[in-house]
């Protein structure tokens, strides 16, 4: 079975072959790994690769996997329709900044249309008794700011867009 995954904006090609039960050969970027596999439960797999042991937790959605290994998490995308179709017009340097946590907007420092430096604070989001500065990821113009001071925002909400 041949597969293609994306991780951190890089494509990886895998080829998978079952030697025998619990024993799988994986070809990844030209290297072959012999993997002993033990399924612990629906989302946890024990892998032994060259004798070394890894406990991996894997949660799958339609288009991607979230894999946890040794306390680190990885978001792996399947070669998906959205990626194939969206690949073209993602080139333009437009960038949306979303919030990774719910919270309350305390202050907005920047007005729409203003230019900011990379790392400049755009607004303050309060969550878990802490005030967190949300900074600009790049030098450029802030084209749109969605929330205003006092608003509550949910995880994943768009905070501002840049160009």
């Amino acid at each position: 079975m041949n597969l293609s995954f994306w991780l951190n904006n890089r494509e990886y090609k895998l080829s998978i072959k079952e030697k025998q039960k619990n024993d799988i050969l994986v070809d990844l970027s030209g290297k072959t790994y012999e993997v002993a596999v033990e399924v612990l439960n629906s989302d946890e797999i024990l892998l032994i690769i060259d004798g070394k042991i890894y406990n991996a937790i894997i949660c799958a959605s339609n288009l991607s996997f979230r894999v946890y290994v040794n306390g680190q998490s990885f978001d792996i995308e399947k070669k998906s329709i959205s990626q194939i179709l969206g690949g073209m017009h993602n080139q333009r340097q437009k960038r949306d900044v979303k919030t990774s946590m719910p919270g309350k907007i305390v202050t907005v420092f920047i007005a729409e249309g203003e230019n900011v430096e990379e790392g400049q604070a755009v607004l303050i989001l309060e969550a878990m008794k802490m005030q967190n500065e949300i900074r600009s990821p790049q030098k450029g113009k802030v084209t749109k700011i969605i929330p205003k001071a006092g608003d509550s925002v949910e995880t994943g909400a768009l905070l501002f867009s840049m160009e």
Binding site: L3, I16, V35, I45, N70, K79, M101, G103
Partner: protein, 500 residues
Amino acid sequence: MFKKILIANRGEIAVRVIRACREMGITSVAVFSEADRKALHVRLADEAYLLGGASPAESYLHIDKIISITKRCGAEALHPGYGFLAENSEFVRRCEEENIVFIGPPSLPMEIMGRKTASRVKMKGAGVPIIPGTLQPIDDEKTLVKEAEKIKLPILLKAVSGGGGKGLRLVRKSEELVSSFRLARSEAKSSFDDPSVYLEKYIEEPHHIEIQILADHYGHVVYLGERECSIQRRYQKVLEETPSPFLDDDARHEMGRIAVRAASAVNYRNAGTVEFIVDKNRKFYFLEMNTRLQVEHPVTEMVTGIDLVKWQMKIASGMPLVLQQEEITPRGHSIQCRIYAEDPDNDFMPSPGKITHLRTPSGGIGVRYDNGTYEGYEVPLEYDPLLSKLVTWGETREEAIQRMLRALSEYQVYGIKTTIPFFIRILHHPQFLSGNYNTHFIEALEKEKDGKETGEEVVALITAGIKTYMENKSRSTSRGSRKISNWKFQGRLENLSRRL
């Protein structure tokens, strides 16, 4: 001893107090907010009562509700934990009036230590060394300039009612003095409803070292060694250890004796902590007194074997402190890591949400895990992001560090981000290992580049591949018709991929 105690707090510290109650045969009563219906402290307590809405003001800070539940459920005493109402002398006064035993100091010493200038005056009078600076708040800019010239730059402007780094300004250049003063006052006003600010000499390369004390009703006060708290981020402690690798025995005993003097000067009672700033020449100055149990109290317990929470209860119930100073003999070394729901790769952003998988780091000698969470628990947005405290003990500092690294390697929290990887970095850092670090350590650490490891990346990709392979296989052997649509979709995807 009390028969029933109410714990006016949440999270790991409420759990800590509940466990002590159970060991002493005391019925523990939890209170909880709407956001904490499923919290661990509620699950572990003997009784539990709803306080109200999720916000602290409606729940853990609501004095009337807490007093009323305490009386209704028949608890004789109340443990405040740390944070929330623990250092609110108004609350302590209410307990005193209502005949509820407050497990902590009386309101008067709490009040004195709560106001920085008042405590500086008191400490100076008792012969406790204080940082050079003003003894009174400064109200006008003329006095400011005069006093700043007297103690010489650099200086710190500090809020009289302050804490946690708010209303704090470092001034290195004289032209910044007045503007910093105005900023500090406005910040102090908005944070503490009190604009008062005073001046202190700024100590370069400071160490933050504190002494644990216990004091009973009968004037007997002992110290239980020090805690090195110089590993701080934004004025918040993140890792503590005892003994301090920076002090020698003479310095630690001298600081212990001074801490006892400080506590005695205000007629302190119960557990408390005297914080000192220590300069690079090991000269130390009184910084403040925390009139409650500290987050980092476990490291002291690990080396002394003394259960501080139990002593808090015994003292509050009027028992004499039978511990003698010479009986308190710390053994080995202990370290605590505060595990926060924060993303260390993203400027320590809070990371609330559901803990989907949890591997806890228990097991073996010298590992202590004080937790406030469990697998499936939803970390609420409303409160401090402290998830748990991981504490290790070792015969030597090196062993305590190695044990902490081992325990951290077994501690895996999935679903939210935590500071676990950050601690692994700290504990590998040569400067931390050398033991010679000050409060600037983390600032310097954050500027260093982090070489990203890739071994786990490969494993993650292999896992995703095998998962896909196995699901595919089970689909093709399964007879269920429901699966076919997924299968078709996958087929379509693969066709699409091939076309490109």
